[in-house]
Amino acid sequence: MSDFILETEALTKEFRGFVAVNGVSLKVKRNSIHALIGPNGAGKTTCFNLLTKFLDPTRGAIRYNGRDITRLKPADIARQGLVRSFQISAVFPHLSVLENVRVALQRQRGSSFDFWRSERVLDQYNERARELIDWVGLSEFADTIAVEMPYGRKRALEIATTLALDPEMMLLDEPTAGMGHEDVGRIAALIKRVAQGRTVLMVEHNLSVVADLSDTITVLARGEVLAEGNYETVSKNPDVVQAYMGAGHG
């Protein structure tokens, strides 16, 4: 098997003439943490949407585990083990924390079309769901309705839900955005643990988190790859410094 779990080839997305992602060739190493950074509007989220097929690329190809997935549907991408989170919190707001995680377990283990059975059959997933909830540190929130939790906890819930599918690769879009200092630390530590034995590709603005977690960093600016390498190399790259200063980014 190739060293790279995910590869893109000259991936391009145009929105009515505006090029949001331009010829991006990305190679993500298996079992690594790979960060995608860049100023606002650089095309990071669009990139994620292309990789998970929430958007169709205008040009280019995506290969996952050596297979061409450029024409697949988003649900099928997830079924192949490539699961994403969203920049805006991705919980089911009016379901409890336990139910949120069960929705994922239920998909993987079948019974999702059973309309004639009582929802109590879902109780069989409670044990596994509680393990995952404990694992992300939400034990005391298991029966809380998701929408009532603080923001940082919601992101932890998203990770538990994603983990329920035991994905080979996780895509996290700004997992620490809008969080207080304490929550950032907690989520960063969680990502590190999650990444054991799997691949993580994440968009992240907090550079100390990026420096701490990532094996490889790709810098995007105006839809194009500006630089790539480890934190040392990338942070000394004059183009990168320029792009960040130019966009007034911290």
Partner: protein, 320 residues
């Protein structure tokens, strides 16, 4: 609304207070034909079933169909035709109508389901209008006259439906069965996925759910149950007519569901009872009934956004 964690009665899966309401409802259904004109109560039950079927889609999947008269009305035609021309016994005539609802649901659903929001509603409306004009022109619907004097027949070779009271209890049993089925669908593993899709569709997709399949399945179920209501209606009134497929019928079911409480278990029943009673008792007002209905609609939208049952449920902090 649903979704809050109420302690479930382990044996039935239905929370205690809801079970009490169902028991009370059964008791009321048993005595009601002795207090009120049975045909009137049957009409209420028939529309309550129609509204419950509609609510399955709008309340639990978040899809607003403006064309549900299509399933109701064509099922009424098919079951009337089956009973009158083919000589089907009532149980088969009703099943034919339901099957017609399901098939039409599959076709309309497949065309509409990929659209979002108002586009979905417009497509259902457009298809329902096409079906209306077809009903107007096609010879077998009887045009302006409709299909009249549909024979009621004997159900399962036992129950003589020409007797209003016998027919009443059959209709009540069908209503109750369908109501419990809808309750089960909503509170099943499948219903849980529908809830997840309504709550956050992109997230459901990202977890690997092929959401169109779930929506289509729910659409077909809703259409089949709307068809059941239409088929039963043609048995009660021995008539299937253009008004059953008219867009105002689609509008009425929206109104009933909104007045009763969208996404509540009992709301559509209350809504249907309120609207049908109003049409019945205000009948001497003539065309003013429509105006009164319009006013109620506006008041509901402005003041009781959750509908009658929805507001009560919010006050009691219990799902109803």
């Amino acid at each position: 609304m649903s979704g809050s964690p109420t302690p479930h009665a382990k044996e039935t899966g239905m929370p205690k207070h809801q079970r009490a309401i169902v028991v009370a409802m059964v008791a009321v259904l048993l005595v009601l034909p002795h207090l009120l004109y049975p045909v009137f109560v049957m009409k209420v039950l028939c529309f309550a079933l129609f509204a419950c079927a509609f609510n399955l889609l709008i309340g639990y999947v978040g899809l607003l169909s403006f064309g549900h008269a299509l399933f109701f009305g064509w099922a009424a035609y098919v079951s009337a035709h089956a009973a009158k021309i083919w000589g089907f016994p009532p149980e088969l005539a009703i099943l034919s109508g339901m099957a017609c609802g399901a098939v039409l649901g599959l076709v309309v659903g497949a065309l509409a389901i990929r659209r979002q929001g108002i586009y979905f509603s417009m497509i259902t409306l457009a298809l329902a209008q096409m079906a209306y004009f077809f009903a107007l022109q096609a010879p077998f619907t009887g045009g302006e006259d409709g299909l009249q004097r549909v024979p009621r027949g004997t159900m399962f070779g036992l129950l003589d439906l020409r007797n209003d009271l016998v027919l009443y209890y059959v209709v009540a049993a069908i209503f109750l069965g369908a109501f419990l089925l809808i309750y089960r669908i909503v509170h099943s593993p499948f219903g849980q996925v529908l809830k997840a899709i309504r709550e956050n569709e992109p997230r459901a997709v990202s977890l690997g759910y092929r959401v169109d399949q779930y929506k289509l399945a729910a659409f077909v179920m809703s259409a089949a149950l709307a068809g059941l209501a239409g088929a039963v209606k043609s048995q009660i009134f021995q008539l299937a007519s253009l008004s059953d497929v008219h867009w105002t019928m689609s509008g009425e079911v929206v109104l009933m569901t909104l007045v009763g409480g969208l996404g509540t278990v009992f709301g559509p029943i209350v809504g249907a009872a309120v609207i049908i009673s109003m049409q019945n008792y205000l009948a001497e007002l003539g065309s003013w009934v429509t105006v009164v209905q319009g006013v109620i609609f506006v008041v509901c939208v402005l003041a009781f956004r959750r509908g009658i049952v929805g507001e009560i449920a919010a006050k009691l902090k219990k799902p109803l």
